[in-house]
């Protein structure tokens, strides 16, 4: 047996004070989010939910410094991320945008290599730190056997894991993801969320993700924030956020919330009127 120097200790992520303080966000002068504050707890997994166009992706953009707030600021360890050197931020906060694109034919190993950009000077000198970070990212995402394969030719789940591996090679303590499960079938969605949970459990990565699916979000998050028209509609544990009244008020949906006996977490089931049978009966009543 090898010595017991815990390998994962090399990859333990540091806690950071990361928060949005009264930020206002606008596109071309059109205000989308008037006043938003959020403290991101270290070493936890958080989900931002809300209906289409509510501003949830906009908030994530601000956290990732893709969009500069018109008021307020996003603070990382006491300093605004818009005034810190952007490469320094990139060693602490990673971002996986929605549906990212890569050059045609790029290999998975080559893609992951790009995660080392923030650590390099003008001419990137490749060193053993970089090599180890990429090897770890490949190993942690289970992609070692596919390292030389082209990103275009692997499955949707594998492709998304490769993008997460890129963020992992970046070795940031905080990882922001914009709808990491979009366009994936249900098994791949679970695969991606399992991987993120595993990274959080084994290395302490702080995760903040925008998710569409409420039941999945409740399953995989320590905390949730529901956004409606740019404002926080609810905030807390999944049990506190995923409620019948929130579904009605924010999503305009009549649904019942029950507890999944397996996890003890809330699952959402649309009301019986939202079904083929109920709609047929309603039509038959109207016609007669």
């Amino acid at each position: 047996m090898t010595t017991l120097t815990s390998h994962d200790a090399d990859h333990q992520h540091l806690p950071h004070a990361f928060e949005a303080r009264h930020i206002a966000l606008a596109y071309d002068g059109h205000e989308v989010v008037p006043d938003f504050s959020l403290t991101v707890p270290a070493h936890q997994v958080g989900a931002i939910i809300g209906p289409n166009g509510c501003g949830k992706s906009t908030v994530l953009k601000a956290l990732a410094r893709l969009l500069k707030p018109t008021h307020g600021s996003v603070i990382l360890d006491g300093k605004s991320i818009n005034t810190l050197p952007t490469r320094e931020v990139a060693t602490k906060v990673g971002l996986l945008p929605q549906s990212p694109t890569a050059p045609e034919g790029i290999t998975i190993a080559d893609l992951i290599t790009r995660g080392r950009y923030p650590y390099h000077g003008l001419r990137g000198g490749w060193n053993t730190d970089d090599e180890q970070a990429v090897a770890h990212a490949l190993n942690a995402t289970g992609l070692a056997g596919l390292a030389d394969r082209s990103l275009d030719e692997v499955s949707g789940g594998q492709r998304q894991r490769a993008w997460i591996a890129l963020a992992l090679a970046q070795e940031t303590d905080i990882l922001l993801l914009d709808e990491p499960t979009t366009y994936l079938d249900i098994a791949y969605q679970i695969e991606v969320l399992d991987l993120l949970s595993y990274l959080n459990a084994s290395e302490g990565v702080t995760v903040v993700m925008v998710l569409h699916d409420l039941s999945l979000a409740a399953r995989y998050a320590d905390w949730m924030v529901a956004i409606d028209h740019g404002r926080i509609a609810a905030q807390g544990t999944p049990g506190e956020v995923v409620t019948e009244s929130l579904l009605h008020d924010v999503f305009g949906l009549n649904a019942s919330v029950t507890t999944d006996p397996g996890t003890g977490l809330p699952i959402m089931v649309p009301a019986a009127t939202h079904s083929l049978k109920a709609q047929r009966e309603a039509y038959a009543r109207k016609a007669s």
């Binding site: 047996m1 090898t2 017991l4 390998h7 994962d8 596109y27 071309d28 990732a64 410094r65 893709l66 952007t86 490469r87 320094e88 931020v89 990139a90 060693t91 906060v93 996986l96 945008p97 990212p100 694109t101 890569a102 050059p103 045609e104 034919g105 790029i106 290999t107 190993a109 080559d110 893609l111 790009r114 995660g115 950009y117 003008l122 001419r123 990137g124 490749w126 053993t128 090599e131 180890q132 990429v134 090897a135 490949l138 190993n139 289970g142 992609l143 070692a144 056997g145 596919l146 390292a147 030389d148 789940g157 594998q158 970046q170 922001l176 098994a187 695969e191 399992d194 991987l195 595993y198």
Partner: protein, 391 residues
């Protein structure tokens, strides 16, 4: 110790690998912490070794490709010098070069043709080809689309129209002419980007369509300038229509050489950042790239290169458009290829010049040959793009 994971591991395991040649930890194997720790370290050391090997292989391959391209360039330059109406031997060329460089007496019967006609033609051709190749690949990288080459989206046409106006109407030449072409190129680039502006960034699809339209309009303007010109003759007109090396002379070489060296080095320094732009502005920003600054700096350098080359040789058709994709094919999938696109551009111009001079019947300008190659390729790429494939 290291357990090979089952190939059929289901999606319920976060680490589901299709065909791992390496024993990789599976989350299900939580036998004991010590076993896991040892397995992970061993695996990662093995993966790191394999990564280092494939990195070394790639470096060798890329050095070999660059070397071969440079050898090809030298060979083409030699052929372009030696093969004309008459064939000159290597020793003829060396003796002429000695006479020219040492300031000795010209070699009778050789010096004029080789040193004063052919050598500047080869030098101008190679330098302009480099400039077109670098500029084209830079645009294609930044805008992430092969069709976004400056000769397709009207920027070359803008520089060319300004150059034609500068010569015919204002009587400019040399650096002043290059500067005037640069203003035309920059103004066109700014106009195309402004026309394609959509919600905070230029839309690439719109940019290509607007650019094609603008290029057509600008080409009409430059044709009109040429037709109105008093000193209208076929030779100079052709230079501004498709690009030609027929007027190349030594005084043109120094300015274009300075531009190519300075802008080329600056682009090389920017290359690691430009490379990141191929992954899209969001991901690049997340990784700490100053996206807007990098885009603007690289595009400015590309327009400088393009304008200087256009003012020197005219818009040698399709060289900017073709060099990037050819270099990308040679460099291997997904690899950055701006520098190599420059060498490919130089090779394309010299090879086309050799063909142009040896076509039976008449000498044609080099741009006619590059058009004959580039036109069909453009059509093929258009068809592929219309079918929704990545180009």
């Amino acid at each position: 110790m290291a357990k090979p994971s089952s190939p059929s591991s289901s999606a319920s395991s976060p680490v589901a690998h299709a065909s791992s040649q390496f024993p990789v930890r599976s989350i299900a194997d939580t036998t004991s912490q010590a076993a896991i720790t040892a397995t992970v370290s061993d695996d990662e050391a093995l993966i790191a070794i394999r990564l280092r090997r494939s990195r070394r292989r790639e470096h060798l391959r890329s050095a070999a490709v660059t070397t071969l391209l440079l050898v090809l360039l030298v060979a083409l330059a030699y052929v372009d010098l030696a093969f004309g109406h008459e064939l000159y031997s290597f020793s003829d060329i060396v003796s002429v070069a000695e006479a020219k460089l040492a300031g000795g007496d010209p070699v009778p019967g050789l010096s004029f043709v080789i040193a004063e006609l052919r050598a500047p033609r080869v030098a101008v051709g190679a330098l302009c080809g480099l400039a077109f190749g670098l500029a084209g690949a830079t645009f294609q990288h930044i805008l992430r689309n092969i069709m976004a080459s400056p000769d397709i989206i009207g920027i070359t046409a803008g520089a060319n129209t300004a150059a034609a106006f500068g010569i015919v109407v204002l009587g400019l030449s040399g650096l002043r002419l290059s500067a005037f072409a640069l203003i035309g190129g920059l103004a066109t680039a700014a106009l195309v980007i402004a026309l394609a502006w959509e919600g905070g960034t230029p839309s690439i699809g719109k940019l290509i369509l607007m650019g094609i339209g603008l290029a057509a309009a600008l080409n009409a303007v430059s044709s009109w300038i040429l037709i109105r010109a008093d000193q209208w003759d076929m030779q100079s007109a052709q230079r501004w229509l498709t690009g030609s090396l027929a007027d190349a002379a030594w005084p043109q070489v120094a300015p274009i050489a300075v531009v190519v060296i300075v802008a080329g080095l600056a682009l090389t320094a920017l290359n690691p950042h430009v490379d990141m732009l191929r992954f899209g502005p969001k991901l690049a920003t997340g990784l700490g790239v100053r996206v807007a600054r990098t885009q603007i700096a690289a595009m400015l350098l590309a327009v400088v290169l393009l304008s200087a080359a256009t003012a020197t040789s005219g818009p040698i058709a399709f060289v900017a458009f073709l060099s990037g994709p050819i270099a990308a094919r040679l460099a291997g999938p997904g690899k950055p290829a701006i520098g190599r696109a420059g060498i490919v551009g130089a090779c394309l111009v010299l090879a086309s010049d050799i063909v142009a001079q040896h076509l039976p019947q008449a000498h044609v300008p080099v741009g006619v040959v590059t058009s004959l190659i580039g036109g069909p390729i453009l059509v093929i790429l258009m068809i592929r793009m219309a079918r929704g494939k990545k180009v």
